[in-house]
């Protein structure tokens, strides 16, 4: 597909057209079980990111750049660590929400490594047969807001309240050490939303 006239200098791709290795990694359009116990379709359409430099140079909002959603580590599948990389189109919507949050707190909102988009093959995820919204590109793990590290109950609770106030409809995990809870970052997501941009 050609580049679109939507201000984003990235190629829009149908995941079904990716190489076999990449399809096995990103599983475009496949129906999987979400953490909510229900079936959801994984994203089918992606933006192609040619390089880390391009990710840095691509703003998705005035204070949110694409690279912030693409920091992953060695636990990510090899195909999803090589360039070009592919990010679900819904990441653009997440970035808009993060911009609202950033404007509200008046400070940088930092997303952890592995805390933006993760492919469904990322090894950090539990192999219990369920899939997290991170695989839809609709989730962010915030580890720091300005100079505040989100690693205790007070700081996580404080910014959880902020998120719920300025981003109605967002889901935020409660503080705690158990499954579905967080105690060293703030997880927010917009569920299993897929984006099919014009021209897809």
């Amino acid at each position: 597909m050609d580049r679109l006239h939507h201000g984003l200098d990235l190629r829009l791709v149908d995941g079904l057209d990716l190489s076999e290795d990449l399809r096995r990694t990103h599983r475009p359009g496949e129906t999987v079980r979400g953490e909510d116990g229900r079936d959801h379709d994984l994203p089918r359409f992606f933006y192609e990111v040619p390089s880390w430099e391009a990710a840095i140079a691509t703003p998705l909002a005035p204070h949110v750049s694409l690279y912030e959603l693409l920091s992953i580590d060695v636990r990510e599948a090899a195909a999803a660590r090589a360039w070009p990389r592919y990010v679900p189109c819904a990441a653009v919507l997440l970035a808009s929400a993060l911009e609202v949050l950033r404007q509200s707190v008046g400070e940088r909102v930092l997303i952890a490594a592995n805390g933006g988009y993760r492919s469904p093959a990322h090894a950090v995820d539990p192999r219990d047969g369920t899939f997290s919204p991170h695989h839809w590109g609709t989730a962010a793990d915030l580890y720091r807001v300005g100079d505040t590290w989100l690693e205790d109950e007070a700081s996580i609770a404080r910014y959880r309240d902020v998120v719920l106030d300025v981003l109605p409809g967002a889901f935020v995990r409660p503080y705690g050490p158990g499954d579905g809870e967080t105690d060293d970052h703030l997880h927010l997501d917009f569920g299993y939303a897929v984006s099919v941009p014009h021209g897809a």
Binding site: D73, V74, R75, L110, A113, G115, Y143, P177, D184
Partner: protein
């Protein structure tokens, strides 16, 4: 001769237990004093973690420039409960400063060995897994070094799940590294370079006479907790092949004075044994 010297130094210092092992790669000679006695490994276990990382790189399961998420959250080997490495108990601030971001595996290995970063250690243990560490230890000839968990896992400590090491086992690990351990040259050299960069020099290096120390190199790893003070590594004196040495000492928790000096004295005894027979 070495045996008597070691026991005298230990008695004079008031140590609860001491073990020494040495193997001279120049002559092939070896000596040991209680070399099979297990001690709490403290940070000497980090040599086994390094062994596992080098093995993973050699097998192309990982690369030294692969990046790892720096996250201070681990699960206890005892009950799976979450725990963190206390920042005020870690000599290394650089790794803590990267929380939330990523660091290359090779850089984490340097921090783990050279400044004994516990956070870097647990990150690597988490990635590699205890089983891979045990396999690499065996592959290097480190039988006697038993790694069962990361560091600062208090719940595991309370449950008696403890990393242990013998002097003989640590010497085996270092001999394995010096002799290649099946590693490609560049991977082996990286491992040695990391160990050469050790910043704590009060143990084995301090026992080598000053005029000789200037022209020598030391690839070693220290370890200490409230009850132990260890040092183990390779000593490269000028114009000869190295000797591998491990010095393990155990103390009453309140006996905090003179530990490092004792390790240095034991290192001097080993140096004399190797160089004068």
């Amino acid at each position: 001769m070495l045996d008597a010297q070691v026991r005298q130094i230990a008695e004079d210092a008031g140590a609860s237990a001491v073990a020494v092992a040495v193997r001279d790669l120049e002559t092939g000679e070896a000596a040991t004093v209680d070399g099979d006695r297990p001690f709490h490994a403290a940070s000497t276990m980090k040599v086994a973690v390094l062994a596992a990382l080098l093995a993973a790189v050699a097998d192309e399961r990982h690369h030294l420039d692969d990046r790892l998420h720096v996250r201070n959250r681990f699960r206890s080997a005892a009950d799976g409960s979450p725990f963190r490495v206390a920042q005020d108990r870690d000599a290394n601030a650089a790794v803590f400063a990267k929380r939330g971001r990523t660091m290359p595996l090779g850089t984490l290995a340097e921090h783990m060995i050279q400044t004994s970063s516990n956070l870097a250690t647990n990150l690597l243990v988490d990635l590699l897994g205890v089983e891979a560490i045990r396999e690499a230890t065996a592959r290097w000839g480190g039988a006697g070094v038993e790694v069962v968990r990361g560091v600062e896992d208090e719940a595991a400590y309370e449950a008696g799940i403890v990393n242990t090491a013998t002097a003989y086992g640590l010497v085996g690990l270092f001999v394995g590294l010096e002799e290649g351990a099946g590693l490609p040259d560049e991977v082996r050299q990286f491992g040695l370079d990391v160990l050469f960069g050790q910043e704590f020099a009060s143990g084995i290096p301090a026992g080598v006479p000053g005029e000789v120390r200037e022209g020598s190199r030391f690839a070693h790893k220290t370890g200490s907790i409230s009850t132990v003070q260890h040092d183990a590594g390779l000593v490269y004196l000028p114009d000869r092949r190295p000797y591998a040495v491990a010095i393990l000492t155990e103390w009453e928790a309140d006996a905090t004075n003179g530990r490092r000096e004792t390790v240095a004295s034991l290192s001097r005894a080993v140096y004399d044994h190797v160089t004068h027979g």
